[in-house]
Structure formats: C-alpha cells, structure tokens
Symmetry: D2
Subunit: 385 residues, 4 copies
C-alpha cells in the first residue's frame, strides 16, 4: 500500500449515494490490490454541520466542510465526487473542473440537455478525468452481457426491452421535496422516473446496443398533488410518476422501456432483455448474480434458457471476490467503478461513462419528456459512434 499513489477525495453530499461511493473508496484496495492508486477520504461536505460531522465520524473522513466551494478550493483535493441533488450538479461540476479537479458525478448528469452540455464543455475544456456513476454497467452479470454481445454471438439484434419498477410513492401521503424526497420535486430533480430510473436503463441500453435514434413516450402523474416539505402546503406534483417509451436503435432494433414508482410489489426491479438472431439474454436486478442466456445453436433436444450464476473466476470482476457459488451484492458495483476509474487514471484513459457519454443519455431523456408532452415521436440527436 505504501507505494500506491494517493487520490484525495472530496465528497459533496452525504446521503444514500454518499454512502455507496464512500464504501467503494474504502473497499477498493482490499479487493483490487493491483490498482496503483489509493483513495484517501480527505473531506466530506454537506450543508448541515451536525449531519456531515456524524457521517465523517462514521466513515472516517479526515475533515468536513459545509460549503462545497471550500472543497473545490482546497489544494489537498484531487477529485470531487458529486452526490448532491440534480439541481446542483452543474454548478459544482463546472467549478470543480475549472479548479482542475477530477470530477465523479452521480447520475443523471444534469436536469436537462442544456445543463449537461455546459458540464461537458467545462470538463472537456479543463481536460480532467471524469466519470458518471451509472453503476449497473458493473454488475458482473451485466458486464458479461457486454462481453457476449461484443463476441458477436447474438447476430442481428431485433429487440431490447427494459423495466425499472418501484412502488414507493403509491401512498398519496408521501410528501414531496426536502432532503429525502427531492426526487419528487421537479425543480430539484429535473424529472421524475425519467431521470431517476429510465436514465439507468438508457445508459445500459446504449452501452450494450448502440444509439437510440428516436422515441415515442407517454408519462403519467398518478398523484396530482402532494404536501411539499419545504412549504408545508399541498402543491402540484410536476414530475413523471411513470414513463413508458418505445424507440428505434441505430442498428434497426426496436426498444421498449418502462419505469414507474407505482408497481406494487417491486422495489428496484430493473430488468433487461435483448433478443438477437442467434441468442438472447435476460437479467434482473433482484437476482443480480444471475444471467439468463438462450443459445439457438444448442442441440434442439435440450435447448433452453440457461440460468448462469455469475460467480466464477472467468466472469467479469469475480476473480476479485470469493469462490464460485458465493454471491456479491449491490454495493460491489460501486467498488468496481472505483477500481476502473483508478485503473483508467493509471493508463491515462477515459473511464466510461464519461460526462460526454452521460450527456447522450441526457438527450434521450429530454426527447422522452418532449415526446410525452407533445404526443409525437422525437429524434434524440444521439451520436453513439
């Protein structure tokens, strides 16, 4: 460890994502001993001093800040990690880039394409390493899908479908706004399930299946008014509670996506399936260590969907963990992204998804919202080459 280079982290935001990222920094050297960098938890920042102090104490950050500008200004910070609500991403990222910091930004990149573009411009002008935490790419089973597709095994692709189903806002007494529920406040979040859930599905989809060309969407807000935690009043809910779209990919395949927070019985049911001429693949976050695979070239008498328990050393990332048959969990995806970020630093390569790539997802999200409000197809303008 002594010979590793330090990467001094300044974390902005100490909510749920603050925990997942921090855990990634703290675990990476235990399990990826070959990476040349060692993250150092230099500082964590949040507006409420009491809260950030408790977080720093629990996770052992060396110091705290209550104004993110201080973090950006500090000389002893190499990388700024943005885990704050969406409405703050642009300002922090641009300032950090201008200060020459590396930037790791929680998804979605921004509230809209315009913000996102300014962020990409700033980060690329500064030329700093950057990444956006679309962590589901780094579930080993999902990474394995990528390998299988890249091997050419599937042949021509006909269909891609993904869902992200939750049920946590069915109760109309759930308020909007405030620290825990800013995702229901359009001003802060930018959108509802589109930026929160579909963005994940779109990032994975374009990584696996290429650019999305055009979209046709429908959105719905099932509960029209909710008490706002900051005003204490019933206010109109402006985010999308549910959103469905179909689309064309650049490769000619049809896509079908759905996200909702009103699917009773599902907590985080992110599922995806891809159907090719010669093979198909299926995955489900609730059973994240499994991949289902149908290979048309198998002997017809015994052909079926194979349930692959992705825990073998030959499979992505799994040589780092335990032994075959033993599962890993959700948090490991963040450890993987940290490991890949550190490796890419050492190699001087970008760590995907970069701001630029995440901005392509932003374009799809905006086309979806436009389509949903206009009732017509929208071109995305995505360039995924």
């Amino acid at each position: 460890m002594a010979d590793k280079k330090e990467l001094r982290i300044g974390l902005i935001g100490c909510g749920f994502m603050g925990r997942t990222h921090t855990n990634g920094y703290k675990r990476v050297n235990d399990f990826f001993p070959e990476v040349e960098y060692r993250p150092v938890l230099k500082t964590v920042c949040a507006r409420t001093e009491e809260k950030v102090r408790a977080f720093a104490d629990q996770w052992q950050y060396e110091s705290i800040e209550t104004d993110w500008r201080e973090v950006v200004a500090r000389d002893d910070i190499d990388a700024v990690d943005i885990c704050t609500p969406n409405s703050t991403h642009e300002e922090i990222a641009v300032a950090a880039a201008e200060a020459g910091k590396m930037v790791l930004c929680e998804k979605p990149l921004a509230r809209d394409v315009e913000e996102g573009q300014r962020m990409v411009d700033a980060i690329e002008k500064a030329g700093v390493p950057n990444t956006v935490w679309y962590n589901y790419r780094r579930v080993p089973a999902v990474s394995l899908i990528k390998d299988i597709i890249d091997s050419g095994k599937l042949g021509r692709i006909f269909h891609y479908r993904a869902n992200f189903l939750q049920d946590f806002t069915i109760n109309p007494d759930v308020p909007q706004g405030g620290e825990a529920l800013w995702r229901l406040d359009k001003e802060v979040a930018g959108s509802g399930v589109t930026g929160d859930l579909l963005a994940h599905c779109i990032d994975t989809a374009m990584w696996l299946n290429g650019g999305i060309r055009d979209v046709s969407a429908v959105a719905e807000t099932f509960v029209k008014e909710r008490m706002h935690q900051e005003t204490g009043k019933e206010e109109k809910v402006e985010i999308d509670d549910a959103c469905i779209f179909h689309c064309h990919f650049d490769n000619g395949s049809l896509g079908l996506f759905e996200a909702t927070r009103y699917a009773r019985g599902h907590k985080a049911l992110y599922t995806l399936e891809i159907n090719g001429e010669n093979a198909s693949l299926r995955w489900d976050l609730h059973d994240m260590n499994r991949l289902e695979f149908f290979d048309y070239e198998d002997d017809p008498e015994v052909r079926g969907w194979s349930s692959i328990h992705v825990t073998e050393g030959e499979q992505p990332y799994m040589d780092k963990w335990w032994v075959p048959g033993l599962s890993i969990g959700y948090e490991h995806t963040f450890v993987h992204q940290v490991a890949d970020f550190l490796s890419s630093l050492a190699e001087g390569e970008p760590c995907s998804p970069t701001f630029r790539e995440a901005q392509e997802t932003q374009k799809v999200c905006e086309a979806i919202l436009d389509s949903a409000s206009s009732g017509s197809w929208k071109e995305t303008g995505v360039d995924w080459s």
Copy 2:
C-alpha cells in the same frame, strides 16, 4: 348422456385450430357431466378432400364437405365453427348467421373493423348464439385473476402490461402464404402479430381492466421480402413482424403491450402483469398453471410474491380435472370454452367473448395499425361498458 340435447357441429377448417376445437367438443361431457348439451361431430369441411377425409377419420366426424356453403345449408347442423384463415371469416359467419346457425368463430374476429362490424350486425340481426375463441381467458390462472380483480382486492389500478413473444419467423428462408403460413400474408391475415398475438393480449386486458381509450404504436417488418408459396416468387412482406404499443385504459391506468415473432428463445411467451394500489398479479403462458400474487396487506416481515399452483378445487375449472398439484395444459382452455358455451346455451345467456365484444378488440387492433403507420396517437372508439 342419453338425456342430453345434441348440439350438431359443422366445423369449417381442419388445421391447428380445427384440432383444438374438436378436442374441446370431444372432451367436454367427460369432464363437465352437468352440461345439458352433447356436441355431435356432424361434419367437417375443407377444400382438399383427401385432407379433410383423413381429419374426419382421425377425429371421427360423421361426414365431410369440401364447400363451406354446403355446411351452412345443411339442416342437420346447429352450430358452425369457423377455423379457416381470417379472410374467410366474414363471408362464412354472415352466411351461417343468415341461415340461423349458431356461430363459433376463431379469433381474430376479422381482418379489420369494417368486416367485423358487418359480422356483428349479421349475427345480432339473426339473434343466434355466438362466441369468439379467445381461449386464454379460460386458463384457470387467468380466470382466477378475474375473480381477484372483481373482488376489489387490487384497489386503483396503475399499470397493465402484456407481451406475446415468439421466434418462429426469424429465419428469412421461411416463406409466406399457403396453408401453413397464411399468417404472414397480409391479404389473408389482415395483419401480422397485431391480429394474431396482440388481439389475445387485448381481449384479456379489456376483460380484466376495462376499455382501452387510445393507443400509440410502433410496428416493424424485419424481413422485408419472403418467397410467396402461391406465386413461388420473392414478394414484399406486408404484415407487421413486431408491434409495440402503449395506451390509456378508461380507468386511468397505463398499458404497455408488445408482440413479436423475433424474440429468440420464446415460443409462446404470453405474459401479463397488473399493478394495483393494494396488490399485483403476474402470469405467464409457459408456466400456465401458476399465478404470482403480491398482496401489500401481508405482514411486511414476510411479504413477497406468492407462486400459486392453480390446481386446487377452489380455483376456476379445477374441480373438473384431477387432484391438487396435478397440472392441466393448453388444450383444456378450449374444453372450458365449449363447456361455458353449452352452459350459456342452456341458460339463454351470451357466451363471452361474443362477436360484439371481439369487435371491440378489433377496434383497438385497427387503432394500433393506424397509429403505427401515422406515428401519432389514435382514439380507439372502444365502448367497454
């Protein structure tokens, strides 16, 4: 048996559906001894004498015909069952109705709304008993869904989704047209997966969740030309190979539907899910004796999706078959529909879905095809009250 009334059947068409219907007629009295009617296999009709003779011999029809007009004209026929390609439904059904025969018609009712309307008009003018073979309503697990919904258990409905995935036309060497593959010939079939597969999904959906108000669809023909079996030439494929649509139901819920013949690994994967405020339900034709049920009112510590093996005497139709734990199959849905048709005759009630109900499904299909070609939302005009 001696005291049962005879119902003398004239079957038109002796393909796959001819077999499933005939099996229904032959089994019904063995398993539903209480029904007052006894189907008699009076005659079967197809254009090729050799083929229809072999069918009649195998299934023990009393006679054969090679012109459907003869069947309609016979005095010893009570009910005409139409199992021929879609393009012939109207002509036969109208003639049969005018001859005062009961009419049982294979789905979809017609190639389009116009044809369907003439059929409804004729059948209602004649006042004859009628039904359309949307058989999946009578899978016991699906019938159980209906019971659960009717009990009010689900509360407000937010989402309904259904897929019907097949893979049998991926190979571009599969020809179109002719006896086995008329479903690929637009002139004969009217449409591709919309009339063949989505029609099933729509019938079930409206039965369970009420009318579909408007739709937004996309369709695709992946293989643009196929050899036509009648001309022997490569000809343009005009049917939809795949079709996806989202919609609003009258009750405010969002619907999402997809059908394709290009989903490698799926043979007849008809799945449906409905999410209500208080409970959700999920079903899959490949495991047709199972129903999955999530009840939010269960104790949170042990709440989960329950996998119900629908083989208990308390469950729809299952007191007629074997003992708990023992499965039934696809063909039983047709036996159930025959049983219900015979019971409804005895009671003087309509047997759902009637031509009138099936015509509502036709309207949704037409709106889907219109939307797919225009790229805009379409009102269906459905009246499901």
Copy 3:
C-alpha cells in the same frame, strides 16, 4: 379408424385411477392415429351399482358389472384394467391371466413381494401382455432424461435423489379407510407412502439409473390414531406417514429418497435429480413440462442450468400434441402409456414396466419397510439386468 383392431377393455374400479385410464383409452386414437388398435370401452365394474352406472354413463362404457369375476369371465373382453385398492390386485390379476386376458394393473403391483411374485408367476405362465401404470416415466421431460442418459452424456453417475412430498393428511381429523382413504389403511394398502409415493420414485430411478442394491430407511407415523371409516372407531394407524431412505445403486452411485404426506405446501411435489461426471438433470412434477440440464462441456463463461421447456416436436411424445411453447398436463402420461401399450401389442413386444419389472420395485419397497423397522441396512435382491 374402421381398419383398426379393437381392444375391448374391462375396467375394474372407477375411482380416480379409473378416470385417468379411461381418459387414456378415449384420447389415444385422436392423438396417436398411427397405432393399429382402437380401445373399446366394453365394461366397467365396481361394487356399488349406482356409482358404476353413473361412471359408465359419464364416460360412455357400453355396460356395467358389479362383480369383477363377471368381467374376467366375459368373452368380449380382451384386456382387464385393475384400478381397485391394492389388496385386490393379486386375486383379480391372477384370475384375469388365467382367463387369458391381457392385464393392465395400477401401481403398486401388490401389497408385498409375496403377492407380487404370485402375480408375476401367473402372468408369465399365461403369457399375456401386461403393464403396470407407473405413469411418470411417460412425462415427456422424464422420457427425455432417459434419452439423455442413454446417450452417455452424463458419464459416471454419482448421485440420484428424489422426493415425493404431499400434505394431505396433516389434519388428525382425516379418517382412515373407506373408499377415499383406503391408502391410510395398512390392511388394504399394504403400506403408506412407501407403496404409494416411493414406489413411483423407485420405478423411475431404476429405469434411469439401474438396480438398487441395498437400502437404509427410517419411517414415521406422525398421527398415531385415526377414526376408521368402516368401524367408526379410533384405531391405530399402521401405515408409514413419511419414509426416507438412502441406498447404493448397482452402478456405485448413492441414492437418497423421501416421501411424506406431511410437507405443508406441497401437493404432489415429485422431484428428481441425477448428477453425473459430465452433466446433471433435474425435474419437478409441479412444473412438469420443464427439464433442467447442466452440461459441464458448455463454455465456462456462460455455463448454467438450462431450463428446457419440453414442448418441441423433437422431444418425446410432443410431436403428437400442439405446437412449441404449449403445455400438456398430468393426464397425458396415461395417454402415452396407452399408446405405447397398443404399439407394443402390434409389435409383439413387452410394454415396460411389465409385472416383472414392477416386482423389482416391490422388492425395494419391502427392503425399505424391513430396514425401517429393524434399523439396519437391507439387501433388496433386485436384479435389474
């Protein structure tokens, strides 16, 4: 049909098994048109005239009898099918054989080895065609297991395990004896779960994996006394409510078997798994159209348990039924056994399992019961060469 040879059936017993066998006779020519015989439902026999008359009327038997000796004596009967309680199998089978009738006997063959041996001797002395209804061999997925094993795919076998779990006698108020519950009466049934459930598991196991050499068993009677329906009194329960045994097969593999009527939540959960050096197989009656298959020779990166939906024309019996993806059910196993019996008649071959083979299962059952009562290993004396 006219040119088929008649096989005139005399059915003894009209309970649950009377229904399944009769259904087999009535369906076989519809689905197996190539078989040269046509079963004719000549007569059905049961002691209670009213009951047998209703059965004959429902299923369309030509006549009824109330004394099985009359059936055996009739000249117009070719085959006697025994569906009565176990205690009557020997007497009827021996008399039928001596009268030169073919004999189809419901499993288990007998109450014990001694009875079974007299039956085998009589049937072989008479030289009449015979079979025992171990129907689960003819579930297509189970037949497919046999094909895969015979292909040598599995290599050396290490393990075979099977369960048959039910829950219908947990309630101590369930009585014993009488028409519906003779399976709980040792005098009539011979044993409890051993003859009723383990016998099925053993028949399949030896068919797939060869002879069982020795056994070590434990049995339990959880409810010690139950009201007897014939005496109206609480009487000691003498059958085994649950029985577990492990064993050695002749091929050196280890076997593990369990049956019970006290496994809450399971109705007819017959599962089996076989582990070979190169591949493993798993099956479950509750999802009877599926077979799970693990092939060690698959590419390690995508190796998993394949879930095969056994509904393809290439798979055993499935070319007779519907199209890929569409399920069949429990009753079809009996249709398959009838078809195979009729084919074997035409070819002059025995129809497995014969009385002789079923007697080997009887030997294992007896060794199990002996081991359970003595607490020591028992040789079975099975000769499965």
Copy 4:
C-alpha cells in the same frame, strides 16, 4: 469513532477465511455505527513470511508473525482469530484461552469430539469470550427463518431437510493435501464433507429446530486415490467425498441431510427446508436474499409459496445496508457475526454459536461418521436445551 473501545485482533491464517474475517473487522464500524468496539488489525500470522507480508500489506495489518505462539504471547492482542486448518485449532485455541485471549475459531471447531471437548474445557475454564464462525446463521433470510419459527407460526414440525452440494473434486486429477487442498487430507481436516459442509447444515438445523437425537448415515469416497501434494505420491483418499444421513430431532421431526463435492453443476448449493403443521420455509444459498414461505392460513384461493426478497428494513440486519430491493452478498454474514460479537462483548453475553454450542455439532458429526462406518444408527448425545 474516537470514543469506541479498541479490540485488537491477532489473526492466525491468511487463506480464504482470513480474508472473510478481516473484511468483517474492516466493515463493521461503517455499517454498525452503534457498536461500542472498534476492531484493530494488530497482527496476522502465517508460516510463510512472504505470503503473510503480502496479506498484511493488502489488508493493512499493523504487523506480521510467522509463529502463532508469538501472537498468543503478545500483550497488545485482545482476541485471537483462528483461520488455520482444522488440525491446528485445538492447540492454538487452548493456548490462546490459557493466555486469557478471546477466541474466535473458524468452523468446524475440531477434527473430533475429543479435541473439541478439550477446547470447550479450556475456553470455559479461562472464561474468555468466544465464538465459532458458523456464518450462515447470519444470512438475513436465515435469521428471518429463526424469527418466524420462534413466533410459533409453524406449529408442530414434521420435517427438516438440508443439502450442501458442490462439484469441485470430481476431476480425479485434483490432488489432496497442501495449502489449498488440505480439506481432502483426513489427517489435517478430520473428515471430508461431514466437517466441512454438513457441519454448517447441522449448526443451522439445531439452532432452528433443536437437538438431533440419533443418526443413520452413509458415506462414500468416489475417487479412492489421489496424488498427495506433500509426498508427491498417489495415496489413499480417506475423507468422505459425500455423506447422507437421516435423523430424529428431539422434537420428533425427521431430518434428512446430504453433502457432496460430486454434484455437477452446484458450487455452494446450501439449501434448507422446514415443514410445520401450519407453515413451511425454504432457503437456498445461491439466491441467498430470498426466502420462500408457505402459510396454510392464507386464503385457499390464492395460497402459494411466497418468494420474499429479504431486503427490507424490517428484516434482520437489513436496516444497516441499502434500500429495499438491493441485495447483499456472502461476505456480509461475517460482518454480521463481527457486529454481534462486538455487541455481545458490550453486553457481557455469549455470542452464539459458542465453543460449547459448536461442540454439539461436533457430536453429531462424529455420530454420522460412526454410523457410516458401522452401518447402524448412532445416538449423538447432544444436549441442546
């Protein structure tokens, strides 16, 4: 963190279990901030200096040792954690106890009952806190089973069954002995699957269902000779490759257990099921976040096996991790055991399973091996009151 008490750890052994335990110590304060102790990685010990130095560097132990006696002798060590092969457990544990150290010992406690008893005697004489790493009790789904059973929900228990299936020694070229494969060397391991795999199953079983009274077992060594890594010669394999036993529990229920390293397709398939009068439960390590639950009191029309995704805050340990729907993995069981050990220290309570409890499992293992070699039932002598 500053106010937490230090618990200075001396780890003996740096193989697979060294990693899992160390990870437990390093994670516990991040996720269980309320525990009063803070583990300090004081020293790690292994015979090969190079190997232990690399381990210490990777996991950040403060120092290394190459003789465990040095660890035991150090004043700055509070707790000795034994992760070495079974043959060394006794000597280290006894010395550590005599030196007044707390002792955490990897399972199985010992090679046999005699060794185990000396360990229990020493630890209890010294009166030091102790625990044995039967980690599977602390899978949240398994802990939930315990809660459900303790609630009385199941009523009278009839059956308990468990398997632990692996396939890693099928290849006869796998050698025995040495660092990686000492589990195949009887001298070092004490036994094969009995101590390695069945011990886990027995610990969980007695925790959930009470003492095991007597056992009847069979064991097999499929590959009779393997090259020994230390001698370089083919030597007789003396451990059990596979072992099956049935048993009586003190509560009158029947148990059935099987473990093997020859079940092709299974890596670490630890499954268990318990059937009670009123409810049943089922769990499987390959899908470790799920629990299946059947409740007979549910409405018969919708009764089924519920698949509970054990990721809710109400469920054991899950309030410490992420949000509902997001999985944890294998390693978390060790974090939980560390957390519970630290809590029990604070409360002055024993941390189950203690050496004394683990010794009861030892008794069952010895009875199994005795029964397997003698072919007769053996009393275990377990006292689980």
